[in-house]
């Protein structure tokens, strides 16, 4: 259990750290990129 708690804590902090540090995606800068939307089935 202690090992499980350690692993879970490690992954939680790692993923949340990534969320905080990853730069936001650039907005689409062309019409062609916007057109990649897939159609409904």
């Amino acid at each position: 259990m202690v090992l499980a708690q350690g692993i879970v804590s490690l992954f939680t902090f790692y993923f949340f750290y990534k969320v905080l540090t990853i730069k936001p995606h650039q907005e689409p800068d062309s019409y062609s990129e916007n057109d990649k939307e897939s159609d409904r089935q």
Binding site: M1, F15, V19, L20, S38, Q41
Partner: protein
């Protein structure tokens, strides 16, 4: 196509809201109890395996499905699922994603209202000097709505309505309101949890008393941390682990789809999903296991915990234990504990409002205000019977059918849709599109084979239990209205009989041989020990109810023990099932009306 009217303010806000949706009362109450009942430390092994092969895949499926539906302006499951398949029937499967939330919110807000009430009672010192039995009685009086503990008539109902109004008001502010609550509530919840967990870790033997001289918090921690490896071969333990993963992550509800539908089409969902999922696991595995069990073991001993571990500990036992800390510290601990449960509850109940609101805004162009207040009215109408007939088992029917069965059915169907109808190829593109982490390729095969198989197993295994519930096999008093009352089973098998120790016209005390689990420190094993247990029946003289047994009589299950006018719990349980069925049909009709509206407006291709 409807206009997107709302969006998340920040990524952190979204993750905290999503984690808040998952973190609920079960993290602190259900998980430790499940661990105690299913092999202590060994429970974590099937639990984590189920998290990796069922929990994470379901999070990926629901996040990506939600974002996909959002591209077409759909923010709740009926039309999110509809956009994923050619068959038009899937929108009715999506009804589960609104139904579950309204039904669960209806009774969940009642528990949430207890936490508000208990914060109040902790502050004013209601529990000061009360014995363990008196604290438990306080709870029983509280849920008996005719009794008032504060002088306010129908106090439980008033707190319940206040809780619904609070939820509805926040929901009427849209995603911004939810995000604000998550940003305040989640850090506070973790802070409160850490403070209580430190107390759980440092309590040691200081809570031992004359009544419980062997009480030791470390026994509770050791029991949770020592693996009982033989339990790993027991399928019931695996089923319990799969069930816990299910409920803790709030998958199969429709709330994740709804929140994810407001994510921008090019934004990440993979990292968001694992980040929110692991945050929930941190609260559950790390904080959840360090509070209730060690503190209860520290004052009452491990044997008491093994025997009595259950949901009721939160309200019936913890206030008494906090009193042992004395004075200001007791008030402080009560506020932290019930405040923690309140934040865990409200961040989940707010999420339950969004699928209905999203649907009404998408399909009927309702405003945030109108959709929020209509949600409040719906849960009040559905929830009042659970408040009034709580003791008759109506509450449990909601919890079972909406809070358990419905989730498994919906999750199984949505996984089949995602993997085999929408197609894993397209599904995988949806999961990895815009991803800020590399999702391991083997997850494609887990989603395709293992997750549906595991869900199918959970679903099929639970079918006999559904039948038992509908047949009311848990009682020997099956008639709705009866003139006789029969003794219930003394234990699960129904083979044992009891002896009448005390009897009055309206009261019977029976004793019978029972077994309890006791943890043997030396061997590290749980032993089964026989003991004399008691069962009490109380009757109502005003309804001509009168006992017909004598002291020394042997009473077997199904023996007649009283006569008079009885309205048995089976009546209220049936009422609960019918209310749930009506709600499901009501939402299905609204979905059908929305479909006709779409056809008329030629929006049907969306």
């Amino acid at each position: 196509m409807s206009v997107k009217v709302d969006s998340w303010g920040s990524r952190v806000g979204l993750i905290l809201a999503m984690a808040g949706n998952a973190v609920g009362l079960g993290n602190f109450l259900r998980f430790p109890v499940q661990a105690v009942q299913n092999g202590g430390g060994a429970f974590i092994i099937p639990y984590l395996i189920c998290f990796l092969v069922m929990g994470i895949p379901l999070l990926f499926i629901e996040w990506s499905t939600g974002r996909y539906g959002g591209k077409f302006g759909n923010h709740s499951t009926p039309y999110i699922l509809d956009t994923m398949s050619k068959g038009r029937i899937w929108k009715y499967v999506g009804v589960f994603g609104i139904f579950t939330n309204i039904a669960v919110a209806a009774y969940y807000c009642y528990i949430e209202s207890w936490t508000i009430s208990y914060v109040y009672h902790s502050i004013v010192g209601t529990f000061n000097g009360l014995s363990q039995g008196a604290v438990a009685d306080f709870f029983n009086n509280y849920i008996d709505i005719g009794t008032s503990t504060t002088g306010i008539p129908y106090e439980a109902v008033i707190f319940y309505i206040a809780c619904i109004i609070l939820n509805t008001y926040i929901l009427s502010k849209g995603l911004g309101g939810i995000e604000k609550v998550a940003k305040i509530g989640m850090p506070l919840l973790i802070l409160f949890g850490v403070v209580l967990a430190v107390k759980g870790l440092t309590l040691g033997t200081s809570g031992a008393s004359d009544l419980f001289p062997n009480a030791n918090a470390w026994d509770g921690l050791n029991f949770l941390w020592t693996p009982q490896f033989d339990s790993l071969t027991n399928p019931k333990v695996w089923l319990a682990a799969a069930g816990q993963i299910f409920f803790t992550l709030s998958v199969g509800m429709g709330t994740i789809h709804c929140y994810a539908a407001y994510v921008k089409p090019k934004d990440d969902i993979a990292l968001n999903a694992v980040s929110a999922g692991f945050m929930n696991e941190f609260v559950e595995v790390v904080l959840g296991s360090l509070i209730v069990i060690p503190i209860a073991a520290g004052y009452l001993g491990l044997d008491w915990v093994i025997q009595n571990a259950g949901f009721g500990m939160a309200f019936q036992t913890m206030p008494y234990l906090f009193q042992q800390w004395g004075g200001v510290l007791a008030v402080f601990a009560g506020v932290l504990w019930f405040g923690l449960l309140f934040f865990a509850g409200i961040t989940s109940s707010l999420a339950m409002g969004t699928p209905w609101m999203g649907f009404m805004q998408d399909e009927f162009s309702w405003s945030k205000n109108k959709s929020a207040w209509s949600f409040g009215a719906l849960i009040l109408a559905m929830g009042l019977p659970t408040v009034i007939f709580y003791k008759q088992g109506l509450f449990d029917q909601y919890d079972y059918w909406a809070g358990t069965v419905s989730l498994v059915v919906f999750a199984f169907l949505e996984t089949i849709l995602f993997s085999y109808i929408f197609g894993i190829k397209k599904g995988w593109i949806e999961i990895t599109s815009g991803a800020d982490i590399k999702v391991p390729g083997f997850y494609k095969y887990i989603i395709l084979i293992i997750t549906p198989a595991l869900l199918g197993w959970v679903l099929v295994s639970s079918i006999p239990d559904w039948i038992d519930k509908v047949k009311d096999t848990d009682t020997n008093n099956k008639e709705w209205f009866a003139e006789n009352y029969y003794a219930e089973n003394f234990e699960a098998s129904g083979a044992k009989a009891g002896t009448v120790d005390e009897v009055k016209d309206d009261y019977i005390l029976l004793s019978f041989e029972n077994q309890k689990k006791v943890f043997d420190k030396a061997s590290g094993k749980v032993d089964i020990v026989p003991f004399i247990d008691h069962k009490i029946y109380k009757f109502d003289l005003s309804k001509n109810q009168k006992t017909i047994v004598n002291i020394g009589d042997t009473v077997a299950p199904k023996d007649k023990i009283a006569t008079g006018d009885f309205t048995n719990d089976t009546f209220y349980k049936f009422l609960g099932r019918m209310l749930l069925l009506s709600l499901f049909l009501f939402i299905s009709i609204i979905v059908a009306i929305a479909y006709r509206k779409r056809t008329k407006e030629e929006r049907i291709k969306l």
